[in-house]
């Protein structure tokens, strides 16, 4: 990068929208998302010399943003989340129906109720299509733990978001019932 100024401008241009969307899905609030995005870029600016490989800027920024979010969440302790102990890893026997439409608002409600340890990997999985290995690096977790959490979070989302008729009849709904 030529300089701190041009470096930050390039980072913002390349990543501000995906970073904002990530922040929104993490926080569930547009105001918080904008604040988090701003905070992430500000911290990135201060730590810019640490970014040795520009190709890893996206993961680096996402990690900074998640840490900022966790810091705020710890301060606010506002999330009342659902434990996923009773959710099966695989809940996929739902018949041969066409792909459901998922309402983004309902998705956000489901995410808001999900513990951050499950919410973050599932957001990264669906939203930014990080690989399992990249998610594991982001979260400082073993890849097996990431895969396990992803499976349970996906099962939880299927239970929350699948059409009611299907949910009543099949496993995912039963799994999610245990969360309420």
């Amino acid at each position: 990068m030529a300089s701190a100024g041009s470096g930050v401008r390039e980072l913002i241009d390349a990543h501000y929208d995906s970073l904002y969307r990530y922040a929104y899905r993490l926080s569930g609030s547009s105001a918080d998302a904008e604040d988090l995005t701003q905070e992430a870029f500000s911290k990135a600016l201060a730590r810019l010399p640490q970014l040795r490989d520009p190709d890893r800027a996206k993961g680096w920024l996402f990690r900074i943003l998640r840490n900022a979010y966790l810091h705020r969440a710890r301060d606010e302790r506002r999330h009342r989340t659902i434990p996923l102990d009773s959710v099966a890893d695989l809940a996929d026997e739902a018949g041969d129906d066409p792909a459901p439409e998922v309402d983004p608002a309902r998705l956000q409600e489901a995410l808001n109720d999900l513990d951050e340890t499950f919410r973050t990997p599932v957001i990264l999985f669906y939203f930014e299509e990080f690989s399992y290995r990249e998610i594991a690096e982001q979260l400082d977790l073993p890849i097996g733990t990431v895969m396990s959490r992803l499976a349970r979070a996906k099962a939880y989302l299927r239970g929350r978001l699948a059409p009611p008729a299907e949910s009543v009849a099949d496993g995912p709904r039963r799994a999610s019932d245990g969360l309420h």
């Binding site: 904002y20 701003q38 500000s42 600016l45 998705l107 669906y126």
Partner: protein
């Protein structure tokens, strides 16, 4: 591949692809799905659900003007960081300057004061008690208090006691001066250099006239006291600088001196 293995691999697939599977696993899974309607249906359901969730996950409208606000705020912070860095650097530099000045002030503060009274007393003693002044001076340098001849201390010159640099080495010396003689260009003088052992190699005790000068030289080697002497004088003999009645014994190789220029 059986159905259990196929379902496990399905769980690892990403929306729209098999990026997390090895090529071999992906090929095995595709072969199984081609022949297993149940697993193929499960794969379609999972892919459909994953695509739907992924689309909903990305469906976050980005606020208008967000990029500009981020740029403005971040660049403003960059300016603040830069100003703070400059301020911190300036503060650090100022602290260094203050520290240097403080040290300098301390050094200046703790320099010994020049005791002008003592200086005046010493000068007064040199005038009133010249022999004692010479003795004190030599003893202060750790040298024998006595000179090698019986000098007339009444002839002690005003700036008599001090050091001369000889070949980069400072040598204590005492200067005697005769009263000005009518017609003489300058008063005759005698300088007694006190040379510590090891500082220079001295000739044996002798009296000689130097070439092309008006000075005679007497060298007095170290006699065990740790010092030798060099007496340089402008008269024919050292006698005029000695006390009344005293005579210098080192005259062996006196040579005629060149004519002195008239006044």
């Amino acid at each position: 591949m059986d159905c259990t293995s196929a379902r496990l691999l399905l769980a690892l697939r990403r929306p729209g692809g098999a990026a997390e599977l090895s090529a071999e696993d992906a090929a095995d899974l595709d072969r199984h799905l081609a022949g297993c309607p149940g697993c193929a249906a499960a794969a379609r359901r999972q892919d459909g659900f994953d695509r739907a969730v992924a689309a909903a996950m990305r469906a976050v409208p980005v606020p208008a003007g967000l990029r500009e606000r981020l740029l403005a705020e971040t660049l403003a912070r960059r300016g603040a960081i830069w100003r703070r860095t400059v301020a911190e650097s300036a503060t650090a530099a100022a602290l260094v300057v203050v520290a240097v000045l403080a040290v300098a002030a301390g050094v200046l503060q703790f320099r010994p004061a020049l005791d002008t009274d003592r200086l005046a007393d010493a000068q007064g003693q040199a005038i009133e008690q010249p022999e004692r002044a010479v003795r004190d001076f030599l003893q202060a340098q750790g040298l024998p208090a006595a000179l090698p001849r019986d000098f007339n201390f009444a002839l002690l010159d005003a700036p008599a006691l001090g050091f001369e640099e000889i070949d980069g080495r400072y040598v204590p010396r005492v200067v005697f001066r005769l009263p000005p003689q009518p017609g003489a260009a300058r008063p005759d003088f005698a300088k007694v250099y006190v040379v510590r052992k090891g500082l220079f190699r001295l000739d044996k005790d002798k009296f000689r006239t130097t070439q092309n000068s008006f000075c005679n030289v007497i060298t007095v080697p170290d006699d065990g006291s740790g010092v030798g002497y060099v007496i340089l004088f402008t008269t024919d003999t050292l006698d005029p600088f000695l006390k009344p009645g005293a005579r210098d014994v080192t005259r062996a190789d006196v040579r005629p001196r060149p004519e002195r220029p008239a006044a």
